[in-house]
């Protein structure tokens, strides 16, 4: 019987079995940002421990950076302190820091791949649950907490148990107007927000192979929203082509050797899995969330579920969702007025996302009642977009064009919802309060759907606007 990628990469990185029964797993790439690391560096200092592999550790600043003006010092003194702490800690330990002056700053899960740091067959850890994004390259990438950041800084390892693997076989040809975001929202809605607990998700099948790297990142990014800490796609020619020539990619003959290794990490054709789930995307519609977790999503022309039609265990959360959102059972999402449109986040802020959204807004105007912003995932994406004139298209339509950062995905910066505002958002979480207002409301959807909603002032079917 063949081996799957997870088990192969795990075996390569397994240092030993710990007394607890957990594996000691070597982490090939550690990404660090300003929110979850200062306490970990302090724990190291308290124990007088060095960083074992500073050359395998890279930092950037993303969560707290203001996106309207990124001049230092920030007006928010706490944000300035957090950035200051990261500057001090990276300098002290000799860690490369892609800061605001580097032209390479951006959302940690955007810049890792963009710089060529993220590669197939790696183990990757970062103090952020969306680290699963890097699995798009065939890496095993974990979100970790601060105590585990301490462990990885000190030992380049973490104590962790091997997950089971569920293969999600995605087939069928998706129609125009259906994006990677719709596929992953459908997967989460089908398997549930806790369906992936204890599993890594392997996304496979013809519909996954056909995706670009950026689309694969969108899918893997939201694995954690389905409860799976790890999600990955087997590396293939699309992967190698993406990596080639990037700053930290191997060069020349080393690149050829790398490709041979990368190719060897992919799941065998006869690999075994703990579970398999099939999804046909040929009739998939644009997906929109109606509730307070990413699993509460439906097709744009579907009706919201009736509580009595839901399995018992989903009813309480659905009831809470209707209460918070001000929605009713049986209604549809089409025509729902929005106040804010947000295109950004580690899920959907890459150049292809901006291009798709720009196509929709070109020559049109954002509805008067809507506050709309585009936040590129990195400085490089921002520059690329400018060179293509996308920033002008967005500005002319009435969008705010911002600097790179996490922005309104989690509102640890000035970008947030006010009061009960309702936001069409290309981000990953519609949790209560997520976008900065305890009563604010989030509708998750693809960037193209957000762009359409911004123009119409309400949720519409993007397929009618292509």
């Amino acid at each position: 019987m063949g081996k799957n990628l997870l088990n192969r990469v795990w075996d390569l990185h397994k240092v030993r079995t710990l007394a607890s029964g957990q594996d000691q797993l070597f982490i090939g790439l550690h990404l660090v940002h300003e929110v979850t690391s200062p306490q970990a560096f302090q724990m190291l200092a308290d124990r007088k421990l060095p960083v074992l592999h500073p050359e395998r550790t890279f930092a950037t600043v993303d969560h707290i950076v203001p996106t309207a003006s990124q001049h230092r010092p920030f007006t928010d003194t706490m944000a300035e302190d957090m950035l200051g702490a990261l500057e001090k800690n990276t300098k002290k330990h000799g860690i490369k820091f892609f800061d605001l002056a580097s032209n390479n700053q951006g959302i940690v899960h955007v810049i890792g791949p963009e710089l060529g740091l993220t590669q197939p067959g790696m183990t990757i850890a970062c103090g952020d649950s969306h680290t699963s994004t890097h699995g798009a390259f065939g890496a095993i990438a974990f979100g970790i907490g601060t105590s585990q950041i301490r462990d990885v800084l000190a030992s380049q390892c973490m104590a962790i148990s091997r997950p089971k693997v569920r293969k999600i076989n995605v087939f069928g040809k998706r129609k125009p107007g259906i994006y990677a975001k719709d596929i992953i929202l459908k997967i989460i809605a089908s398997l549930g927000v806790n369906g992936g607990i204890g599993y890594a998700y392997e996304y496979a099948g013809e519909a996954i192979s056909a995706l670009s790297m950026e689309e694969r990142m969108t899918i893997c990014n939201m694995s954690i929203e389905g409860g799976a800490r790890v999600g990955y796609v087997n590396p293939d020619e699309t992967t190698f082509e993406y990596i080639k020539g990037r700053d930290f990619a191997p060069k020349g003959e080393e690149f050829d050797r790398a490709v041979a290794f990368w190719r060897s990490t992919a799941s065998d054709p006869d690999a075994t899995f703990d579970d398999v789930y099939d999804l046909d995307v040929s009739s998939l519609e644009p997906m929109v969330t109606w509730g307070i977790n990413p699993g509460q999503a439906i097709g744009v022309s579907d009706h919201f579920p009736r509580l009595s039609d839901l399995p018992l265990e989903y009813r309480e959360v659905a009831h809470r969702a209707y209460e918070h959102m001000g929605f009713s059972e049986g209604q549809t999402i089409k025509g729902q007025k929005i106040d804010v449109a947000f295109i950004g986040s580690c899920t959907n802020s890459r150049i292809s996302d901006l291009r798709e959204a720009a196509k929709i807004v070109k020559g049109k105007k954002v509805a008067k009642s809507v506050r709309a912003l585009v936040v590129p995932g990195s400085m490089r994406i921002a520059n690329q977009a400018k060179s293509e004139g996308l920033d002008e298209i967005f500005r002319e339509a009435g969008f705010d064009w911002r600097g790179a950062g996490c922005s309104m995905c989690l509102a640890m910066n000035p970008d947030k919802l006010n009061g009960r505002e309702i936001c069409a958002s290309s981000s990953n979480r519609n949790f209560i309060g997520r976008q900065g207002s305890p009563t604010g409301r989030t509708l998750l959807m693809s960037p193209a759907m957000v762009a359409s909603a911004a123009i119409a002032g309400e949720v519409v079917d993007v397929r009618a606007r292509l």
């Binding site: 390569l12 990185h13 240092v15 030993r16 710990l18 007394a19 607890s20 029964g21 957990q22 000691q24 070597f26 929110v35 979850t36 306490q39 302090q42 124990r47 421990l49 074992l52 395998r56 706490m78 957090m82 590669q119 067959g121 790696m122 649950s129 680290t131 979100g143 970790i144 907490g145 601060t146 105590s147 462990d151 000190a154 030992s155 380049q156 390892c157 973490m158 104590a159 148990s161 927000v193 806790n194 607990i197 204890g198 954690i224 929203e225 191997p250 080393e254 050797r257 790398a258 977790n293 989903y314 309480e316 959360v317 989690l410 979480r429 949790f431 209560i432 309060g433 997520r434 305890p438």
Partner: protein, 204 residues
Amino acid sequence: MNASSISKVSGRGIPVRGNDIDTDRIIPARYMKAITFAGLGKYAFIDERLDEKGNKKGHPFDDPRFAGASILIGNKNFGCGSSREHAPQALRDWGITAVIAESFAEIFAGNCTAMGIPVVTVSEADAVALAEAVEAAPATEIAIDLKAERITAGAKSFSCAAPHAYRNALLDGSWDSTGSLLEGAEEIKRTASRIPYLNHFQTA
């Protein structure tokens, strides 16, 4: 640093009902603007506790009957979402020393264990029974015996479970894993020497 063995945790219970309680709800991101974990307890569940005007909404964390409670009783997929350790840090700072639920999100469970906070699972019926017992008699002493995988609540007794590795790490005092990971220094070097991308892809 050797951590201490944790085999029994006891205290009064506090039920926080609902499935899929995410870490944004446990502590909203705006309260993570800090470079230490100190004093996060006052923000635990803050948006669930207070309305926009600062009036109390009747959350268990503000209910005087549960003041001083230390064992949180939840439902399914507790702690889902963001990996922020600020969430269990806020709970601990508030006074929580263990969490009982029907199921936990993985990163949250790992964070709790790494902090020495046992997280144990019970059946749906037992989660309901425990919450009801505590609501009916908040003074009920709840005791979690990790070794025996039993919970007692007054005269009642329930079976509970924890992933074996987490349970072992708490019992043998290796839940603070830095020390045990560093003990493998030689094996770490050996592993690094066989990983192709750390060696210019020249390993066999």
